[in-house]
Symmetry: C2
Subunit: 444 residues, 2 copies
């Protein structure tokens, strides 16, 4: 490729499947047997056998074989090509159909050695992430994010059906929601601000604003310095909040139905991606619920101790294994966390002093959700803030709506990358983020 002189080529390319030159996607060529079509995409694999060049063309839908006799130029792998040709049925071709090329045009050839081959085994994670856009050309990587997009779509669809309104709340905020020092600071003109750790306060405010049921798909930020396979510093949070609940059980009922819908939707619509990833999805069923103290007692019997009021990653894996074997579930709700380990807004459980109406959800050994009922009474919330050492005056913007009639409510958040990771069986959460942000990674 050279500067300037490929402007001429541009006018020969086209966009829509519907237009005059009839671009056909790879997955649809079988419908055009005997007809002349145009295909466009990347030269995924190129083999020269004597006078004949075989090119596997890859586009956004999949691949199709192109047969080019008496090639006038060499086509390098990963060139962007446009092929006009005739669709032929041929049992030897992958998929049973191939395109006999009549015209071949290279729209953009690679101008450097490829960082790694796309057909063979993948290089290490670091190389994959460094050349992120290139590595996504691997169908087994592309499938992860295509599936993720459908997963998020299913999240939205279900909640819209249930009367939820989608919201978009600020990510530059004046104060953290989860406490702690894990905040990224932003220079906001002459003030100091932070990146939102979650839309917690805002989604609660929107329940009180009268929408009752809201959800948000947005970024959340945690300035955690530790470098693990299951933490990202910027992640996609699938948040929901709803009013007029009885207690946290309503939320678990909702999430159970939501996940059932999402997994069934993926199983039905993403067979291509799931096959590429060699993933099997099973029905969610009725998710078991166990108290944290019960979980800790089971682990104790297995010789595994737990941190106070919580589980560690090893504990999460062990209890998931136990539940899979004894209750045939890949999912587990853990309930009744102590107030000392939950945020200031967690609703105390009046029947179990010291505990809260909160829960976590484990999936295949990893926490993918935190949720619970929230305090909706203004005076109780102010008192709890004081107990937590927070100054209620700094949270006036949040407390404001609690003064004017706030319904009983609660919500939850699902980490999109964590759920993706567990669905796809990925070893590292960075593989579930298009452009992961971690301790050392700001590019690409």
């Amino acid at each position: 490729m050279d500067d300037g002189n490929d402007n001429d080529d541009r006018n020969k390319t086209n966009m829509l499947e519907e237009n005059e030159t009839m671009r056909v996607l790879a997955e649809n060529v079988a419908f055009y047997a005997g007809e002349r079509v145009t295909v466009m995409g990347w030269a995924y694999h190129v083999r020269e056998m004597g006078q004949v060049t075989f090119i596997v063309l890859r586009d956004r839908s999949g691949t199709v074989q192109v047969v080019w006799e008496n090639a006038v130029e060499r086509v390098k792998e990963e060139s962007v090509i446009r092929v006009d040709g005739t669709v032929r049925q041929d049992a030897r071709a992958p998929g049973g159909y191939e395109i006999y090329a009549l015209q071949m045009e290279v729209l953009a050839g690679p101008c450097d050695r490829l960082p790694f081959g796309l057909n063979g085994p993948a290089p290490g994670l670091d190389t994959m992430l460094r050349h992120r856009a290139f590595s996504i050309r691997r169908p087994d990587v592309a499938a992860v994010f295509a599936m993720q997009a459908e997963m998020v779509h299913a999240f939205r669809s279900f909640l819209r059906q249930q009367g939820f309104t989608e919201i978009s709340t600020p990510k530059i905020v004046a104060a953290g929601t989860e406490g702690g020092a894990e905040l990224f600071s932003v220079r906001y003109f002459d003030k100091m601000a932070y990146l939102a750790q979650s839309p917690q306060f805002y989604k609660q405010m929107m329940v009180g604003a009268g929408y009752e049921r809201v959800f948000e798909v947005g970024k959340a930020y945690r300035a955690e310095t530790h470098d693990t396979s299951r933490h990202l510093n910027e992640y996609l949070s699938l948040d929901l909040e709803m009013g007029f609940i009885k207690d946290e059980n309503d939320l678990m009922d909702l999430e159970n139905a939501l996940l059932e819908y999402m997994m069934n939707y993926l199983a039905e619509t993403c067979t291509k991606f799931l096959d590429t990833l060699r993933v099997k999805l099973s029905s969610v069923g009725k998710i078991p619920r166990m108290r944290l103290s019960e979980v800790q007692a089971i682990l104790e019997k297995m010789g595994k101790s737990s941190p106070e009021g919580n589980l560690d990653p090893e504990g999460e894996r062990l209890i998931s294994k136990y539940v899979r074997e004894s209750l045939q579930s890949e999912w587990l709700f853990i309930t009744h966390y102590p107030a000392s380990k939950r945020p200031v807004y967690a609703m105390p459980d009046a029947d179990n002093p010291g505990l809260t109406r909160s829960f976590d959800l484990l999936f295949r050994g990893l926490e993918v959700t935190t949720g619970g009922q929230r305090i909706h009474q203004y005076h109780m919330l102010v008192a709890n803030m004081r107990k937590f050492g927070l100054n209620p005056e700094e949270f006036e913007f949040y407390l404001d709506i609690f003064k004017y009639g706030m319904p009983p409510h609660g919500g939850l958040a699902i980490g999109a990358e964590r759920l993706t990771m567990q669905i796809c069986g990925l070893a590292n959460i960075r593989e579930a983020s298009l452009f992961p942000r971690d301790r050392d990674r700001l590019v690409p």
Copy 2:
């Protein structure tokens, strides 16, 4: 309301319309004439007439009148109430049906004087924004964001139908995409980073990664210090990018069809909100396209001069008025902007030296979209960076994918708040953002 003692009430509330106590939404009471139902929501308006209290109850669906004889307590406005009662047809009731209360329970009463009344005229914008969650209880404010949610939904639906994949790209970045100093800086561990001005580089990379057609609904940040009625420092950007285009006309064709779909979708599904807002939506039709030079010449004839290679807000309003009157269109594509006024990645127009294959879209006098074809040739892009005084080495993460076969491509971005503002006829863009961020506003 007091601390603690309202836990008992909680167990009497409920969540799902489907469950045993049969909560019915206000908009659906007519279907239950003669039956006993439960309604829950806010006491929007309370009138006491002798022994009878009339309460207009507001929930997420709308309002319904409740008639309570021999009330045992006074219900304050904006209390959260639960009413068990019988649905009666009564021509005098708004909507023709009302609920004759058998039981009334206050789930959460206001514990402070309301900042302003919700039934009368709205207070000033500043007060409305200070008590944002409360002001959204006004149906005319709630309708804006309910409509906005549907608008974004329609954007997604159309693009999914056209084979686009939704992506989520990082908002913490190492370098700006649009140049200039209008970047918010973030302390990222021991490095300096920035908030993304747009997903521009990332969406282009995803086209090259093989998805071909991608879109993103995400936050974008501009550290502009000026305080106008049409700028926000954090806004919701509706972005798309697509490969294998012929030129910028393909993008305008797509956006024309997209907007037609979105406006028709709103006109069909949001009649309730549009009526509340007193908004009429007309069909988009074929959007006229005019060159910038042509627009400037028309303005010149009207005695209005323009800044070099651009329009000012007054010019945008005047040309929109002209086009509405002469071409009966509320929309206008302006094309052929000079390279000197467009970003480094804008595709030069080989037929018109010095100009680019870019465009803006005006709607009712305001720019709501910027778009165009991008440079897809690696060497041309590197050369252009140098011409713009940028160091290509700093953009290696972006340039990487251009080395390995990048199809001709382009895209556009729609400012969600701007489009909302113009659809709803709002005077200030802050009214189109749930929690606007501007020069002085970090809370709520």
